[in-house]
């Protein structure tokens, strides 16, 4: 056992900090990071997370402004409040980073994820899968006599719930995009 009594995998990033980190609440935050769309920019952001021992729950990235070559990276991360603040400051000082927004604290926001599920089955299972898909507003985007591929958009929790229901009905493969998020309201 470590003499430090810091649990392995702790997000504590200073070994000199001998405080008990478990006492602090782990929060989940969604960060939107606007970056220059230049070679290696994603590696810089990800390298920072791995190099400093931060968590990535999900990550999406695509160019959102072709004229100014700006990409938006949406990262869902977890950590104590101090760690989240540190992550924002660390990401903010990467040279090609223009803006860092913590959507979790900056006011109400919309979070959506797209997922594809391949469900194999026949008979009752197949009928049940289709019925549940309707309830969850999932679309059938591919079909054979023994399978469906469902497409679904929603919060990560909704997608988790749907996946849970599909598992006993023949879920064989899942693809998820990770979270894309925007602040609600008219302001940018």
């Amino acid at each position: 056992m470590s003499a430090l009594r810091i649990q392995q995998g702790s997000t504590s990033h200073s070994a000199y900090d001998l405080r008990d980190y478990h006492a602090e609440v782990i929060e989940k935050h969604t960060l939107a990071v606007l970056v220059d769309n230049e070679a290696g920019v994603l590696a810089r952001v990800i390298g920072l997370f791995s190099g400093r021992g931060y968590n990535i729950e999900s990550l999406t990235v695509a160019e959102v402004n072709h004229d100014s070559h700006l990409s938006r990276i949406t990262v869902v991360t977890t950590g104590t409040r101090d760690v989240i603040e540190q992550i924002k400051a660390q990401v903010g000082r990467i040279v090609p980073v223009h803006e860092v927004h913590d959507l979790t604290v900056e006011g109400p926001s919309i979070e959506r994820e797209l997922a594809l599920f391949k469900v194999e089955g026949t008979g009752n299972n197949r009928i049940e899968a289709l019925r549940l898909a309707e309830i969850f507003r999932a679309n059938v985007v591919d079909s054979t006599l023994e399978s469906f591929v469902f497409e679904m958009t929603g919060t990560s929790e909704k997608i988790d719930a749907f996946a849970e229901l599909m598992r006993p009905l023949g879920l064989v493969e899942t693809a998820r995009t990770g979270v894309a998020a925007l602040a609600r309201g008219s302001h940018v």
């Binding site: 003499a3 200073s14 900090d17 405080r19 810089r44 101090d82 400051a89 903010g92």
Partner: protein, 582 residues
């Protein structure tokens, strides 16, 4: 006006336009076009080092002693990987560097070509930023941007990777004035509320202390002047990190000496007992704080830093002030004066500090037969005091003793590897300093083990007639490792003996330099004077006491007020909690 030229010529032109006069480097296949251009001009001096790591450390020494960015040029593959230690060193100590590396031609990238390495990938975490230039038309703008990034905000090393075909190809040169304005513009002025709040704290504090660091030096000589003015006008005590020595003069009346693991008792006790801590340009490094939970438990903490990521990273502060040290100090002084230059009575605090001073924590047991390392540095200080002197160090006990026993009156006079603790830093750094200040006395205080790590640079020192003085405190041990093994590992001295050392005098002579050996305290003054007066590089082999420990010391995992003051209190000093720390 834009001009067509080859990429290689652009590199040289951009360096001239950026005011660069010296480049430290080592040629190789992938940078030959740039070296060809360097050959055909006389404005920029190229200094041929003997190893790429030394090129970066020399550039660091140049940068730290001049306040200008250091520039280095290395080839692809091994040239670039050899530079990695130096880049990491500069990143941790916030030293502005612009490093150029050659790369295989763009059409060969990814083929495992000869001397190909993923330099951008390898150096991404050890630079502030880096660029792979694939288009000659973009090269000059990238270089100007690189200088901007290296020197703006919190300074740091940047790297530009130059594929060979980009060096050969023609493109359009953009001068600095025409280059696009970078979106990278860190905030330098702090908010007026923060300044007002800081001034209000200054007015009320009864037990204040300034805790300053390398950020004051990076902010420029003006910042050091403002710091002196503020410290002297308020009459507050001041301590500094290893990196910040010289920003406030050692002879100043507020000076407590260095703080931290091997800092002075009075400085650490003042940090522990203060009611107001004003951190200016330091980063609560683990060498400074000791055990976090017990760090300065009763103080209001202010942190002035240009880098927001330094705030609350290790120590939670009450008042963060984000801005450049020089700008913040100027505003604080202005507001404090306009509000009537008020301070509370700090006489009781000073009385307490004087009592701590009485402990005389740097006392060591003198010897008439063996040179004590502390004595050697006391004599070096006494004999070079008042000279136009620059000091570099390697890493270990000698470095801590140098910080304790040498006094610095001005910024940019002290070059040491603080954050990364790079053995082998001091010698090449001393060459970089000497080439920037040809007429000054440049001394590298070294240990014999550290010094051997970059000893090949004797060739560089000789070639460029850099009369650097290598003052080696030779205890035939990795002294700091030995000290920790004594404290922590039951005196089992595993691999900490410097076996098979060279004869340093003969080594010096083999390079055509001067070698001096001294082992008798009575001969020391004359030997040091001989070193100073010799016009050329000197290796001074100072044979010192082999088992001396460096005190005072905060054992790892302990708090500021649990310092060890001498050998008597060493037994069992480090508990299991502290044992896993470095």
């Amino acid at each position: 006006m834009t001009r067509q030229m080859t990429g290689a010529k652009m590199v040289v032109q951009a360096l001239k336009d950026q005011g660069v006069d010296t480049v430290f480097g080592y040629p190789g296949g992938a940078v030959l076009p740039v070296y060809d251009e360097i050959f055909q001009q006389n404005d920029i001096k190229h200094v041929l080092v003997r190893h790429e790591q030394a090129a970066i450390h020399a550039a660091e020494g140049y940068a730290r002693s001049t306040g200008k960015p250091g520039v280095a040029l290395v080839t692809s593959g091994p040239g670039a990987t050899n530079a990695v230690t130096g880049l990491t060193d500069a990143l941790l100590d916030s030293i502005p560097l612009v490093v150029f590396s050659g790369q295989v031609p763009t059409f060969m990238i990814g083929t495992d070509g000869f001397q190909e390495a993923d330099t951008i990938g390898i150096t991404r975490p050890c630079t502030k930023h880096n660029w792979l230039v694939k288009d000659t038309d973009k090269l000059s703008e990238t270089i100007h941007q690189a200088f901007h990034v290296a020197t703006t905000g919190r300074p740091g090393p940047v790297l530009i990777d130059l594929p060979k075909d980009v060096q050969f190809a023609d493109g359009e040169y953009t001068p600095p004035a025409k280059a696009k304005v970078s979106h990278y513009q860190p905030r330098v002025k702090a908010s007026i509320e923060d300044i007002n709040n800081l001034v209000a704290l200054i007015e009320k504090a009864e037990r204040p202390v300034f805790y300053t660091g390398g950020g004051v030096i990076n902010s420029g000589p003006g910042a050091s002047q403002l710091l002196r003015e503020l410290v002297d006008a308020t009459g507050f005590p001041i301590t500094s990190t290893l990196m910040g020595l010289g920003a406030y003069p050692a002879s100043g009346k507020g000076w407590l000496g260095m703080l931290g693991m091997h800092g002075l008792y009075e400085a650490n006790m003042a940090m522990h007992g203060c009611d107001l801590m004003i951190n200016i340009g330091a980063r609560f490094d683990d060498r400074i704080t000791g055990r976090i939970q017990d760090f300065s438990p009763n103080s209001t903490k202010v942190h002035v830093d240009i880098d927001p990521s330094s705030i609350n990273k290790i120590i939670r502060v009450d008042l963060p002030v984000i801005g450049d040290v020089g700008h913040v100090l100027e505003d604080v002084l202005k507001v404090w004066k306009s509000r009537g230059r008020k301070t509370a009575d700090t006489s009781a605090w000073w009385k307490q500090i004087e009592e701590w001073r009485e402990v005389r924590c740097l006392t060591y047991k003198p010897s008439e037969t063996v040179i004590k390392p502390q004595y050697a540095l006391e004599r070096l200080e006494a004999l070079t005091k008042g000279m136009d002197r620059y000091v570099t160090t390697e890493v270990g006990q000698h470095q801590m003793w140098a910080a304790q026993f040498l006094n610095f009156e001005d910024p940019n006079r002290w070059m040491t590897s603080g954050g990364l603790g790079t053995m082998g830093y001091g010698f090449p750094a001393s060459i970089g300093v000497q080439l920037a200040h040809p007429e000054s006395l440049v001394i590298n205080v070294a240990g014999e083990a550290s010094w051997l790590m970059n000893m090949q640079e004797m060739g560089t020192a000789m070639q460029y007639r850099a009369p650097v003085k290598q003052f080696i405190l030779n205890n035939e041990r990795l002294g700091m490792v030995r000290q920790w093994q004594q404290l922590l590992h039951g005196e089992r001295y595993s691999s900490s003996w410097s076996e098979s050392l060279p004869d340093f005098v003969k080594l010096a002579e083999a390079f055509g330099a001067k070698g001096i050996q001294c082992s008798d305290p009575k001969d020391l003054d004359d030997a040091i004077m001989e070193m100073i007066n010799y016009d050329g590089p000197v290796i001074f082999d100072c044979l010192v006491e082999k088992h001396e420990n460096c005190f005072p010391m905060i054992p790892s995992g302990k708090a500021h007020n649990e310092m060890l003051l001498g050998d008597a209190s060493v037994e069992g000093a480090i508990k299991s909690d502290g044992a896993v720390l470095v």
